[in-house]
Subunit: 326 residues, 2 copies
DNA sequence: TTGTATGCGTTATCAG
DNA sequence: CTGATAACGCATACAA
């Protein structure tokens, strides 16, 4: 089933079929022929061959999504946002899940070969050796020379910290990501700054790093809780880490929020079902993905992209934060 | 940067380059020439053009993943499993997220055009009109005529129900999926059967349907709890639904497990951080994805695939289930 | 052991 | 307004 078959069925030449079906028939093909061709294509169930088209045009109309963890709900939502935007723009989406501990070069090589017009990198630093010709947009990082889209992490972190400080907390722990993506570095810096602003020294022992699973987070949070002088509040880089803090607190009979306030980041769905419901910084992950795809599409189209865009976040105060009891 | 460039640089013909780089040089090309070609390709940073290769060979070495909700952690893990298996087999993975309420025809059409050699359908029924030539494998369903891979849902549901019945529960509610995928129909049937086996009539009022978000699930579970004679236990089609049950119980001052036992399905990560930790049926989602990809790859390679495979599950008893107090 | 020639299905240029 | 015709980059049958 090729355009030649359609041409034969319609009694026209193959090039006429191509002209009609790629919408470039305006003023060149008679309305009658146009209709005949379309009908023939329809009846035969003709689909243009994507490989042939890509070969000829040099564009695949497809983008690669490089995410560090398809399993994390925040990425899930971001992917969905990007994906929907891509489909409606007529782009297919190739997925590359790159576990943190593995080199991302190999899978990218495969995509670089041409099936993809550009990449969306989620959090992960794009490889130094830039892909050959493909456009790149980075999400949740702001490297120079590459367009990026990210959340107002500073604003979110500051809001959460201000909330805690206003409640009266001074000994505030930070349960952070062990892997040092830029977005997490920002949070640590802000935590330091906020404490200093409140006249407290951010003790090194109050920072604990963890991977993105509950077990590891519980271990890290436990270390904080087992301190001679444990924190009265913990701000977490992610709701998953906050979940680990809940686990650690429960294991030690530490009550939230009476004995310990906990704040998260991302507002994952499960934050609301935690007991007590988690105070966290909420972001529109789907929009983040959609905006990022938009930037990538613009870049692919050769439009001058903005260097970067930052999207707002909002602190959602729920029941995991309260004034300190000590 | 094409094979012609490499040929020129190596001082050989383009076909020699092709032979060498596609590994079909065995016994046909001298070791010396082979080395020269490889070095030239390496130095020039040559990548074969995927579109041209796909056009020529008729195979894209890429598969489509059709999932109903990228946002659901279970799918995330399944995707990761399928994705890893695909990469190691040299296949790229295209993602199609099809929200339940939307037709899946449109995005599939795009992929059908040839960039994809086959599809993995996660839960979602493959379209009646079979793709043209692409292979299909279905996950978590077992349509006839199409190879499938699924979990032992019967075994898992039976185990959970037996556990509840053994604890002494007789009035057991079922919080099910509103959308009637085969896997969910099985659960409802088993629920009916188990109750009848225990000598109880499965009252229609004890079944509530919900979508896969906490809000909706809380509403549905609430309806169960507000019954004149509420159930003493609820078995849920998914941990997300179980989370909704927690929410509904909390809102009503119903204690888990003292006043209400809750059992879930999937063993999502957050099941352990719920308070109390959720009793649920655990499955290896990554393996499910990997096995499914294996079946698809076999089908694409023309090997006779098994008609279907079922993967084991295991009940994990935690603290959300206890004997009924009434 | 290597090179030549051909065609995969499109799009796009250029005659007619 | 429409039809030949030439690439796009690769794999492969066949010739040398």
């Amino acid at each position: 089933m090729t355009s030649v078959d359609v041409a034969r069925a319609a009694g026209v030449s193959q090039s006429t079929v191509s002209l009609v079906l790629s919408g470039k028939a305006a003023g060149r093909i008679s309305a009658r022929t146009d209709a005949v061709v379309r009908r023939a294509a329809e009846e035969l169930g003709y689909r243009p061959n994507a490989a042939a088209r890509a070969l000829r045009t040099g564009a695949a109309r497809s983008v690669g999504l490089v995410v560090p963890d398809v399993t994390h709900p925040f990425f899930g939502k971001t992917m969905r946002g990007a994906q929907e935007a891509a489909w409606t723009a007529g782009y297919a989406v190739a997925l590359v899940d790159v576990p943190l501990d593995r080199p991302l070069e190999a899978p990218l090589e495969a995509l670089r070969a041409g099936p993809v017009d550009g990449f969306l990198f989620f959090s992960v630093e794009p490889p130094a050796r830039r892909p050959g010709g493909e456009q790149v947009v980075v999400i949740e990082a702001s490297p120079k020379g590459i367009p990026w889209v990210r959340l107002d992490t500073e604003g979110g972190t500051d809001a959460a910290l201000a909330h805690l400080i206003e409640l009266g907390h001074r000994r505030i722990g930070h349960l952070g990501s062990r892997v040092q993506y830029p977005t997490f570095q920002i949070r640590t810096e802000r935590w330091r700054a906020a404490l200093e602003g409140a006249g407290v020294e951010p003790a090194a022992e109050l920072w604990a790093g963890s991977g993105f699973d509950f077990e590891d987070a519980a271990r890290a949070a436990g270390a904080l809780l087992d301190l001679a002088q444990p924190p009265t509040a913990i701000i977490c880089d992610d709701d998953i880490l906050a979940g680990g803090a809940y686990l650690a607190a429960r294991a030690r009979g530490v009550r939230i929020p009476e004995d310990l306030s906990v704040a998260g980041f991302d507002d994952l769905d499960f934050a609301r079902v935690l007991s007590p419901p988690l105070t966290t910084v909420s972001a529109d992950a789907e929009r983040l993905g959609a905006v990022a795809f938009g930037a990538l599409a613009a870049a692919i189209a050769g439009e001058p992209a903005h260097a970067g865009q930052v999207l707002p976040v909002a602190l959602v105060v729920r029941e995991s934060t309260a004034p300190p009891s000590r």
